[in-house]
């Protein structure tokens, strides 16, 4: 029994210590901060700087409960610091500092989450898939005359078909196409010209039966 009773607290104690070491929980040092803020209101710069530096880790731990993205957390902390700066005259040194700070922080978090919620409702983040599908080649399927065009190209003589494929469909330059196919630049030019002429004839004929 004693062994059983003894173990769990021991284990828990170790676990707690580890957790505490990993993420130290900042505490509100209410009196100190109230005094610092009172000095800051009177114009003491170093007190103000010290106060802002000391509340930052605390605000960060509050923000971490609401936001996941580290850049969101940092943005929220800066938002709160700016708000504290803007309305620092509303702090009454005879009252505790903690609730004052926490209310400001919570209001900023809520505003921020609401804004993010609204943005999520309206906007969709652009993912790699979206970019892929906006490429014309990915959407070739949707064009109504794709099959017609492919058939027409298949009907062309082999040299002309190759010239069209390299220069028009793969968008190669004349030099690239020449080195890829072994045809000369002049021959490519002639063949592509004839191919376009033929395609125009074929497709024109099909559109007016």
């Amino acid at each position: 029994m004693t062994e059983r009773n003894g173990r769990p607290p021991l284990l828990r104690l170790v676990g707690n210590e580890d957790a505490a070491r990993a993420a130290p929980e900042p505490t509100i040092r209410d009196t100190d901060w109230a005094i610092l803020m009172a000095h800051a209101q009177d114009g003491d710069r170093s007190a103000y700087q010290r106060l802002l530096r000391e509340i930052t880790p605390y605000l960060r731990s509050l923000a971490a409960r609401r936001h996941r993205d580290p850049s969101d957390i940092e943005d929220a902390v800066q938002d709160i610091l700016l708000t504290v700066h803007a309305i620092r005259h509303t702090f009454d040194p005879t009252r505790p500092f903690g609730p004052w700070l926490v209310t400001i922080a919570n209001r900023r978090f809520i505003d921020r989450l609401r804004r993010q919620g609204r943005r999520r409702d309206r906007e969709t983040p652009l993912t790699p898939e979206h970019e892929t599908f906006s490429e014309p080649r990915a959407n070739l399927e949707e064009r109504p005359d794709r099959h017609e065009l492919e058939q027409a190209i298949d009907e062309l003589p082999p040299m002309q078909r190759k010239a069209v494929q390299l220069l028009k469909l793969n968008e190669m330059s004349l030099k690239e196409a020449s080195s890829a196919s072994g045809m000369s630049v002049a021959s490519l030019k002639v063949n592509v010209h004839r191919a376009v002429k033929n395609l125009r004839k074929i497709l024109g004929d099909r559109s007016e039966p």
Partner: protein
């Protein structure tokens, strides 16, 4: 994005000493003094209604007036309290009893002699003068309150503007029943509840935007 330590540096470097706000109740009292001044000036310029002395002895009229005035005072105090970050939101309930007194009294009056509103009960001339009183009372008071409560913008804009609007509405309704003998009950209902709804509604709708417009800008360089 600026790094947080740099932000702290620049905030501290550009800091100026600030004057602390006076206690909220004192500031509410200042605003109420302004309200009293506005109503008194209107009384001088427009003249109180002729039958005021007689009507004030009517218990239901007097109770309605007291309710409206109390609502104005308590809502103003609540608005100034709630505008501070470290005060409880429960202060929003402060004017509730007075609102109940005010509105039930109107309702009671309405129930008592609703037939007294005849086809000639409301005249156009009276209605426009009522409107003038409404604007002349509410506009300066709303603007003053907006300026006095501007720092509440990043905190609880909607709650604060609703409270402020309720206060303005109650004081406006008091002024209306002081100056205009629109005792036809429909008029009372219209102007009392109507003004209250209008101001609270406007406050709720535009309060946030108005507050943001006048809010202290958190600037690093002051």
């Amino acid at each position: 994005m600026i790094a947080t330590p740099d932000l702290i540096e620049s905030l501290a470097a550009n800091m100026k000493p600030v004057r602390r706000l006076r206690p909220p109740v004192t500031r509410a009292a200042c605003w109420l003094l302004l309200a009293a001044l506005v109503v008194a000036l209107l009384a001088v310029s427009q003249g109180v209604r002729p039958d005021l002395a007689r009507r004030i002895h009517d218990p239901s009229f007097a109770a309605g007036m007291v309710g409206a005035i109390l609502t104005g005072v308590l809502a103003a105090v609540a608005a100034f309290l709630v505008s501070l970050p470290d005060r409880s939101r429960l202060w929003l309930l402060l004017p509730a009893p007075a609102v109940v007194l005010w509105l039930t009294n109107i309702g009671y009056q309405c129930l008592g002699d609703w037939v007294s509103f005849g086809p000639h009960g409301v005249s156009i001339g009276e209605a426009t003068r009522c409107l003038a009183t409404l604007v002349l009372t509410s506009l300066p008071l709303s603007l003053a309150m907006l300026v006095m409560l501007r720092y509440a913008a990043p905190l609880r804009p909607t709650a604060v503007t609703c409270m402020g609007s309720l206060s303005v509405a109650a004081i406006t309704a008091t002024a209306l029943s002081l100056f205009h003998s629109g005792d036809a009950t429909l008029m009372i209902i219209m102007f009392n509840i109507g003004t209250a709804m209008m101001f609270v509604g406007l406050g709720g709708l535009f309060g946030r935007r108005m507050m943001q417009w006048i809010a202290p800008r958190p600037s690093i360089r002051e």
